[in-house]
C-alpha cells in the first residue's frame, strides 16, 4: 500500500486549480444558515469564474484527524482554495496548510490559527446584533424583548452580547429574555424547530414582542411562533424576509442580522482566482458590510425613527465611539 501523500506531495497545488472546495461543519448543507450561505458563495464563484468545485459533508462524531484528512484529500486533488466552514476546522486547517503551502486555505469563524496560506474569515456578529438590539428596543411596545439562541456556544453568545448591549444602550428599561435551546455537544438546538417554537412561545407569553433568534434551522420555529402572534421577529445570517420557505411568515420578519458568509467565500475565491490570494485575518464587520441589518421588509424601511437610531448606532460602531462586547 502506498501513501496517498507521497504520490502527490511533490505536486502540491501546482497543477492548474480544479476549483473551490468547501468542507462543512456539523449540520452541513441544508442548514439554512451559514453552511448554506457558504454554499451560495461557492456556487456564485463557480459560475462567475467558470471553475469546478467540490463540497463535502462531515460525518457524525468525527475527530480532527478526519477533518485533516478531508482537507488533505481536497488539496491533493488540486482544489484551491480549500475552505473549512466553521471554527471546528481550526486545528485541521493549520495542519493541512503546512502540508500544502501552495494551496490557500479559508477558515471561517476562527482567527486563532494563523499561517502564510490561511485566510481567517471572521465576522463581527456582535456588531450586527447590536443593531438588531437597537431596532428591537425601538420596536417593542411591551418593553420586553427576547433572544433565542440555538446552542449555548461562544459564537452564539456573541450574538446575544451584541443584542443585549444594543437594547440596553437604546433603552435601559427594556428587559431582555434569553433562552438557549440545547447545550453543547448536543447541537440539536440548531436543528429542532419545535424547540425554537416552544421557546419563542414562552417568551411571547412573558410579554416579549420582539424576538431575535440565532438558532439556525430551529429559528424557523421561532419565526413561526412569532408570526402566529403577530409580533416582530428578527432573522439571522441571511435576509430571512426573502427566504422562500418562510414566505408565509415574512410580514412578521422585521429585519435580519445578515452575516455575509457567502460574500466572504466568494471574495476569497476571487482573490485566489486573480492570483493574489488573501491571507491572514479578513474581518467582516459593519465597516465592510460583512455584517449588517437588512431592510427588505418595507414596513421596517418605513419606520423612520428606528432607521435613524440604527443608522446612528452604525456610525458610532464604525467610527469606534461604540465598543461592542463579544461576551454577555
Amino acid at each position: 500500500s502506498t501513501s496517498t501523500e507521497s504520490s502527490s506531495s511533490s505536486s502540491g497545488s501546482s497543477k492548474e486549480g480544479k476549483g473551490i472546495a468547501l468542507a462543512y461543519d456539523v449540520g452541513g448543507r441544508g442548514d439554512q444558515s451559514f453552511n448554506d450561505a457558504a454554499y451560495a458563495g461557492f456556487e456564485k464563484a463557480r459560475k462567475d469564474f467558470g471553475i469546478g468545485g467540490e463540497d463535502v459533508e462531515p460525518s457524525d462524531g468525527e475527530s480532527d484527524a478526519d477533518k485533516v484528512q478531508r482537507l488533505t484529500d481536497l488539496a491533493r486533488q488540486g482544489y484551491n482554495p480549500v475552505i473549512g466552514v466553521g471554527f471546528a476546522y481550526a486545528p485541521a486547517v493549520k495542519e493541512a496548510a503546512e502540508k500544502f503551502p501552495k494551496t490557500t486555505f479559508g477558515l471561517i469563524d476562527d482567527e486563532t490559527v494563523k499561517g502564510e496560506n490561511i485566510a481567517n474569515l471572521v465576522f463581527s456578529e456582535e456588531q450586527g446584533s447590536y443593531l438588531a438590539g437597537v431596532a428591537a428596543a425601538k420596536a417593542t411596545k411591551s418593553k420586553v424583548v427576547g433572544f433565542v439562541g440555538g446552542v449555548e456556544v461562544p459564537l452564539i453568545k456573541k450574538f446575544e452580547a451584541g443584542f443585549v448591549q444594543g437594547v440596553k444602550d437604546t433603552d435601559p428599561s427594556v428587559k431582555v429574555r434569553t433562552q438557549y435551546l440545547t447545550q453543547p455537544p448536543d447541537m440539536g438546538g440548531f436543528s429542532k424547530p419545535d424547540l425554537g417554537k416552544e421557546a419563542a412561545r414562552g417568551q411571547l407569553d412573558s410579554d416579549a414582542d420582539v424576538l431575535y433568534h440565532a438558532a439556525g434551522l430551529a429559528g424557523q420555529g421561532v419565526i413561526e411562533a412569532v408570526a402566529a402572534k403577530d409580533k416582530w421577529v428578527i432573522g439571522v445570517d441571511s435576509d430571512q424576509y426573502k427566504q422562500k420557505t418562510l414566505d408565509k411568515y415574512k410580514d412578521s420578519i422585521l429585519t435580519s442580522m445578515t452575516k455575509d458568509v457567502s460574500g466572504a467565500v466568494y471574495n476569497l475565491v476571487k482573490s485566489v482566482h486573480e492570483g493574489e490570494p488573501k491571507t491572514g485575518v479578513v474581518r467582516f464587520d459593519l465597516k465592510t458590510d460583512g455584517v449588517g441589518l437588512s431592510d427588505s421588509n418595507p414596513a421596517f424601511a418605513e419606520m423612520t425613527e428606528i432607521q435613524d437610531a440604527v443608522k446612528k448606532a452604525r456610525e458610532g460602531i464604525v467610527n469606534g465611539d461604540i465598543k461592542v462586547k463579544t461576551t454577555p
Partner: protein, 375 residues
C-alpha cells in the same frame, strides 16, 4: 473432542462471514434499487483504503472504537447494558484534559496522571448507575441513558470560562495539555502517525481476555452473566459484581477518549468527538464480546467510516456505508443466533447419539467405554 472444536471454529467463522456477504448483497440491492452501480462503491472504498495514510486513519480510529467496545463488552459479559459509555468517556476526557492541562510533570508521570484521572472519572460516572442498580434496583439501561444526557450538561457547565474552561476564538476548551502529557506516537512519515495508544488499546484487549478467562474474578464475572442465580448460589456477591464490573466498564470507557486526547487533540473542546459509546455497542455486538472479534469489528467499522469518505468525491452518498453498517449488524446478530442454536442442537444430538451408541454397545450402564466415546 476435536470434532467439537473444529465444528466450533467453522461455526464461529462461518457466522460473521456469511453475515457480511448477506449485508453486502442487501446493500447492493439497495444500490440497484436506487439506480446505482451495485459494485463500484465497494471498489472505490477498497481503492481508497489502499492508501497508507487512510490505513493509519483507520487504525487510529479503530483503537478508539476498540476501547469503547471493550467497555461495553465487559458489561455485556455479565448481562449489563452499559449504554452510558458515551457519557462516561466524554466526561472522563474532559476532566482528564482539565487536569492534564493544569499540571506539569515529567512525561510518563504526566500521562499516567491523566489516564488515572480519566479512568476514575469514567468509573465514577458508571458507578452511579451501578449503585442505583444495586441499592435501588434501577435498570442500568435507563439510568445510563439519563446519565449520558446529564454528562452533557456537566461538561457544558465545567467547560465554561467562568468555571474551568477557556475560550479560544469561538471554541471552548480545557486548555492545551503540555507536551509532557502527550502520548508518543509511531511516526510513519508521509502516511502520518499511528497513535501510541493503539498499543495500549491492544494491551487492554489482552488484559481483558486474561482477566476474563484466566482469573477467578473473570470466572465469577462470566458466571454471573451466564446464570446470575447460579452464580449467586456459587458464592458470587452479585451486587458487588454488578458494581465492580460497572466500575471497570466505566474505567475502560474513560480510556476511550484518550487516543484522541493524548495522541492528537491534546485538549478537550466543543468539537471533541461524541457518540463513540454507541459505535462501541455496535462493535461489541459484532465482535461477540471476544477481544479478537472486537478488534476485527472495530477495524471493519473504522474502514467503513473512513473509506466511505471517497464516495462523496465520486458521486455516491456516504450513507451507503451507514446502511451497510446497519445491515451488517443485523445480519451478524441474526446469523450468530442461528449458528448458536444450530450448534447447540447439533451438540445435543451428538450427545444423544453417542450415548445411545455406547448404551447399545454395552447394553448396560457401565462407564467403561465412555473414554473411547469422548476421545
Amino acid at each position: 473432542m476435536k470434532k467439537f472444536d473444529k465444528d466450533r471454529l467453522i461455526l464461529a467463522l462461518g457466522g460473521p462471514a456469511l453475515a457480511i456477504v448477506v449485508a453486502v448483497a442487501l446493500t447492493s440491492v439497495v444500490l440497484i434499487a436506487s439506480g446505482r452501480s451495485p459494485v463500484e462503491p465497494y471498489a472505490l472504498m477498497a481503492e481508497y483504503a489502499a492508501h497508507s495514510d487512510i490505513q493509519v486513519l483507520i487504525v487510529n480510529q479503530a483503537a478508539t472504537y476498540y476501547l469503547a467496545a471493550l467497555a461495553v463488552a465487559i458489561g455485556f459479559r455479565m448481562n449489563l447494558f452499559n449504554i452510558g459509555v458515551d457519557g462516561q468517556y466524554r466526561l472522563a476526557a474532559m476532566v482528564a484534559a482539565l487536569v492534564g492541562a493544569s499540571v506539569t510533570l515529567p512525561g510518563p508521570l504526566h500521562i499516567l496522571l491523566i489516564l488515572v484521572v480519566a479512568m476514575l472519572v469514567g468509573a465514577f460516572w458508571a458507578g452511579i448507575a451501578g449503585i442505583l442498580k444495586t441499592t435501588r434496583g434501577v435498570s442500568e439501561v435507563v439510568s445510563t441513558i439519563m446519565l449520558n444526557s446529564i454528562a452533557t450538561s456537566v461538561v457544558a457547565y465545567l467547560i465554561l470560562p467562568a468555571q474551568f474552561g477557556e475560550q479560544r476564538g469561538n471554541n471552548l476548551t480545557t486548555g492545551e495539555i503540555p507536551e509532557s502529557g502527550w502520548f508518543p506516537g509511531i511516526e510513519l512519515g508521509a502516511a502520518g502517525e499511528i497513535y501510541g495508544f493503539v498499543v495500549v488499546a491492544a494491551l487492554c484487549g489482552v488484559l481483558y481476555w486474561l482477566v476474563l478467562n484466566r482469573t477467578r474474578f473473570g470466572f465469577d464475572l462470566r458466571a454471573t452473566g451466564a446464570g446470575e442465580s447460579a452464580a449467586i448460589a456459587s458464592g458470587v456477591d452479585a451486587k458487588r459484581m454488578v458494581l465492580t464490573s460497572m466500575l471497570i466498564s466505566g474505567a475502560v470507557a474513560g480510556l476511550a477518549g484518550m487516543p484522541i486526547l493524548l495522541g492528537d487533540a491534546h485538549t478537550y473542546s466543543l468539537d471533541f468527538p461524541a457518540g463513540l459509546g454507541f459505535t462501541g455497542i455496535t462493535i461489541a455486538l459484532l465482535g461477540r464480546n471476544h477481544p479478537v472479534g472486537i478488534a476485527l469489528g472495530a477495524l471493519l467499522i473504522a474502514f467503513l467510516d473512513k473509506a466511505s469518505a471517497t464516495l462523496d468525491y465520486n458521486g455516491y452518498e456516504k450513507e451507503i456505508a451507514m446502511i451497510m453498517q446497519g445491515m451488517i449488524v443485523m445480519a451478524v446478530v441474526i446469523s450468530y443466533e442461528a449458528v448458536r442454536r444450530y450448534g447447540l442442537r447439533r451438540q445435543q444430538q451428538k450427545v444423544g447419539e453417542e450415548l445411545a451408541a455406547a448404551a447399545a454397545a454395552t447394553d448396560g450402564t457401565g462407564p467403561e467405554n465412555r473414554k473411547e466415546v469422548s476421545a
